[in-house]
């Protein structure tokens, strides 16, 4: 009967664990079948889709905000133009000439220049 060693020397390099490494492996007791995998993948894709939609919607909502602000700017510019026109009309020569102040003005009897 040939010699049968009951123990073998295994070098550290050949060991699948080494110093300071865990020597136990976690093996889940839950086993997922192909259907569960498919469902999970589908769920992940759905979540990613929802995230995309949320971001796209948020970007679109910014566009609506921007549009609203643009409308306000346009409205304010219109009001500014209206006020400029009103101001120009109120200070137009014909308006000034017809004003109560202008009607009270009189021509000076004489004018003189003072040398400085």
């Amino acid at each position: 009967m040939p010699y049968q060693p009951n123990s073998y020397y295994t070098s550290r390099r050949q060991q699948n664990w080494s110093r300071n490494q865990n020597t136990t492996r976690f093996v889940s007791a839950v086993k997922l079948g192909p259907v569960a995998h498919t469902v999970l993948v589908a769920l992940m894709i759905t979540v990613l889709g929802l995230i995309y939609l949320t971001q796209a919607t948020r970007a679109t909502s910014y566009d609506y905000e921007s549009q609203k602000i643009d409308s306000q700017i346009a409205e304010l510019n219109n009001q500014k133009s209206d006020l400029q026109i009103e101001n120009a009309r109120l200070t137009a020569l014909d308006t000034v000439k017809d004003s109560a102040v202008a009607r009270e003005l009189t021509t000076p009897a004489s004018t003189a220049f003072v040398e400085q």
Binding site: T60, Q79, S81, D82, A88, R89, L93
Partner: protein
């Protein structure tokens, strides 16, 4: 066995059928997605991507009030109210609302228009203000819509109408500055290309978005001084009433830089209601577009040439016989009786044609207007002082006028003898005024200009000070003598009408009108060309009065308008009397 074979055959047939269908589908998909890719992408983009024009705002136009710009032309957004008669559900409410809010802006038959159910678009009211439009919008009337339109507004109404011109319904500038500077005022429209939602709200998603902002037109500031312009227009109205003139024009220029301070014409019009004008002559700016024979105003030019060439002085004399022979023609004075040995100053005072034909002769050999004399006159009149040449003023429809060169067959001695007293050539008021400014400002010719700068972010940015485009067109000595001669000419005849203590000079002009190729006996044009100021000459004024079938005289009809404007200007510009 047979059954199995049959079953096998069915399976194969089914498989083959499915394969064929799959191939057909794949082929179709390949065709749609690969071969027709660009076509369907185009269709999709046309559906999803909108292109909006961002309209540029037309530039505003300002005059000056002293040194402060004041608006002459602004933009206003007005609204057109339209109806879709098919969808209008509350007709009575629409009628009542429009009547109470839109007033005179509604169309006369707008109630009938609402009944035109076979149409989808009817304009009910135009040119509503934003406030009016908002009031109507508050009523939430179904079937009623609004269209915003930008239009020009003129707070000073008719002021400087021919200088400004107008913008037509297509948005194009017509006449005046609006036409000349149309591209500059118009600006450049912007572009917004973007994916939109169903309500056409632009969205930032998409990779083909373009946003090119509009570049608004320049806000131009004119050299016109609002108060001077207004006063000149009033003086023209008064003058037209007094003289019966129907075509009256005036121009005020600063001879020190060529800036036009006022430019006015009668008849005139309201640019806001340009479409109501029945006679297009009202659109013309006669000061730049109406060449005419300037008449005796040009005697100042002839005298300046004589002095500058050293052939004559104001105190030199000639023998006046009230007529003078040139070739086969006899030229007579309009005013007769100042005969004998008289000075050229006297000829200027009485506007004697013979004196200035004599100057032209002295430019030649003393008794004839030789080719050399004609070349000299042409050199001064045309090349140096700009008669018969476009001045380049920044307004549309400037006319060139005509001055015949000695090179031409018609440029003979008779022609140039006539030109010596302002006939036989056509020039515009702006040409005559610009040349005269050079004669009395020391001899520098400034190109007339009407644009003083731009408004940039509400701040007036003035152009650099104008520089003479031609220097020393006459010597400083000649300029001084011409000023003195015209001052004496005015003082000797009309000095009492001026404010005392100022240096004011001028020359009358009464020119004949050519009708059917001949000088008319029953129509003349009156002009007055002069300057004023204290120690320094601050303004040149030119006035022209004419009327169909009317005899007008420079001294009686044009001079009083000059005096009216001049005396007012001395006060307005706070010019101190000369020391």
């Amino acid at each position: 066995m047979k059954l199995e074979l049959l079953q096998g055959s069915r399976s194969r047939i089914l498989a083959a059928a499915i394969l064929i269908i799959a191939v057909v589908f794949m082929g179709r998909l390949f065709y749609l997605q690969v071969i027709q890719h660009d076509y369907y992408v185009g269709l999709a983009e046309a559906e999803q991507i909108a292109r909006f024009k961002i309209p540029a705002e037309r530039g505003l136009i300002y005059a000056k009030n002293g040194e402060t710009p004041v608006p002459l032309v602004l933009n206003e957004t007005v609204y057109t109210v339209f109806a879709d008669p098919v969808t209008v559900s509350e007709k009575e409410k629409v009628i009542a609302t429009l009547r109470s809010v839109a007033g005179s802006n509604i169309r006369e038959n707008f109630t009938d228009l609402l009944d035109k159910k076979d149409t989808r678009y009817q304009i009910l009211a135009t040119k509503l203000t934003r406030v009016q439009a908002d009031k109507i919008k508050e009523e939430s009337l179904s079937g009623i819509g609004f269209q915003a339109v930008s239009q020009r507004v003129y707070p000073e109404d008719k002021l400087a109408a021919q200088v400004l011109g107008f913008v037509n319904a297509s948005g194009e500038g017509n006449y005046g500055l609006e036409s000349y500077a149309d591209n500059r005022l118009r600006g450049v429209d912007g572009l917004l290309q973007t994916v939109t939602d169903v309500r056409d709200v632009p969205l930032t998603i998409g990779d083909k978005n373009i946003n090119l902002p509009a570049q608004d037109g320049d806000d131009v500031v004119l050299t016109l001084e609002r108060n001077i312009q207004s006063r000149v227009e009033q003086a023209l109205v008064d003058g037209a009433k007094r003289t019966g003139g129907t075509n009256v024009s005036a121009l005020v220029m600063d001879p020190r830089n060529g800036k036009v301070l006022a430019m006015a014409n009668l008849p005139t019009y309201s640019p806001a209601e340009y479409f109501k004008v029945t006679d297009v002559a009202a659109f013309n700016n006669d000061t730049i577009s109406g060449p005419y024979e300037p008449g005796s105003d040009v005697k100042t030019y002839t005298m300046a040439v004589g002095i500058d060439k050293g052939v004559v002085k104001a105190s030199d004399t000639f023998n006046n016989t009230d007529s003078i022979r040139v070739a086969d023609r006899t030229i007579s004075n309009a005013y007769k009786g100042i005969t004998g040995e008289i000075t050229f100053q006297t000829a200027m005072n009485w506007s004697l044609n013979t004196g200035f034909v004599t100057v032209a002769q002295r430019l030649g050999n003393g008794s004839e207007i030789t080719r050399e004399a004609r070349d000299t006159m042409y050199e001064y009149f045309h090349n140096r002082l700009g008669l018969g040449e476009l001045t380049g003023i920044e307004l549309a429809n400037e006319a060139k006028g005509i001055i015949i060169s000695p090179e031409e067959l018609d440029g003979n001695a008779v022609r140039y003898s006539n030109m010596a007293f302002g006939q036989g050539l056509d020039a515009t008021m702006v040409q005559v005024s610009a040349g005269f400014s050079a004669l009395i400002n020391g001899g520098n010719y400034y190109q007339p200009t009407i644009i003083d700068g731009v408004m940039q972010d509400g701040v007036f940015e003035q152009n650099d000070a104008p520089q003479p485009t031609k220097k020393a067109v006459v010597s400083a000595s000649t300029s001084r003598q011409i000023k003195e001669m015209t001052q004496i000419a005015r003082t000797s005849g009309f000095g009492s009408v001026d404010k005392q203590g100022y240096y004011i000079g001028g020359k009358t002009g009464t020119s004949q009108v050519i009708k059917d190729g001949q000088y008319s006996e029953d129509e003349t044009i009156a002009t007055y060309l002069g300057f004023g100021g204290g120690d320094e000459t601050e303004y040149v004024i030119m006035v022209k009065v004419a009327g169909e079938g009317k005899i007008m005289q420079g001294a009686q009809d044009a001079l009083p308008i000059f005096t009216d404007i001049s005396n007012w200007l001395l006060d307005y510009l706070k010019i101190a009397p000369k020391g």
